[in-house]
Amino acid sequence: MHSEQPLQPEDSVKIISDALRQARQENTGAAFFYILWGALLCLHFLLRYLRLEIPALDNGIVRNCIWAVFPIGGIISYFKNKKNDEREQVIPLYEKVYLFSFGGYALAFFILFFAGMWQPVPLYLICFPLLLGLAVLTAGGITKHKVSIAGGVIAILLTGISINASLEIQNLIAGLGALIACVIPGISMKIKKHA
């Protein structure tokens, strides 16, 4: 228990460094959302790829499944957030980093999606790994998470291949981008948390 004894400057340094270390260890809960959205986006693009590659799969069920991932992700995220809010005792500083980097990503993606609807080239599909990679790289750089930094860079590099690829391969690259930039860093965060 803390007492009101006179402090030495050396004691102050120890108190500050201990407290900062404790604060830094607070979990943002980002791992869950990285894995969830990474897996759902990966599934979304994989189904789109399979639909284009295998004509037999181009039916109503597959088409519905492709878009069903978004409301499913939204519902799961809503309940997870609600559960987190009930338990939450602390809000880590990094929480806002994720909020702004992924908020910016989502905004940019939807602008490309809707504004590019009349374009012959699916801009949103080409830019998906680029935007996701940027968001993951930024968040990873600030939170000093090396796997996110690497995942973000690889996803950005995938855009270079996507630009000149066929529509089928662009879908496959987008799915791969989600796997590398979200699922793998998310799993790494989870492992680190339990270590």
Partner: protein, 95 residues
């Protein structure tokens, strides 16, 4: 000549509280009590002193049916903490 250290921060418990809050967006009373390993009464007194000095903000609300007290560091608090760090460095001849 060494500058005297901020008496408000130069206390074990208050320094712990401010150092925790500087690394967080905000924290509840329960969290601070657990991390500083102190009694609720003592923590309340120290938080009130920091609030009076304008170093922290205390918000009282409800989470479901339960009351929750949340603390957040202010700009004044951040400035005071930075100044304290710089003074400590001088004491330790780190500058």
């Amino acid at each position: 000549m060494l500058k005297p250290l901020d008496p408000l921060l130069h206390s074990q418990l208050r320094l712990s509280i401010v150092s925790l809050l500087i690394g967080l967006e905000e924290a509840t009373f329960v969290y601070l009590k657990e991390k500083t390993n102190t009694t609720a009464g003592n923590l309340s007194i120290q938080l009130e002193k920091l609030r009076e000095a304008g170093y922290i903000q205390i918000k009282k609300g409800f989470k479901g049916k339960y009351p929750v007290t949340t603390c957040k560091i202010t700009t004044n608090g951040i400035r005071a903490f930075e100044e304290y760090i710089s003074d400590i460095k001088q004491y330790l001849h780190l500058d």
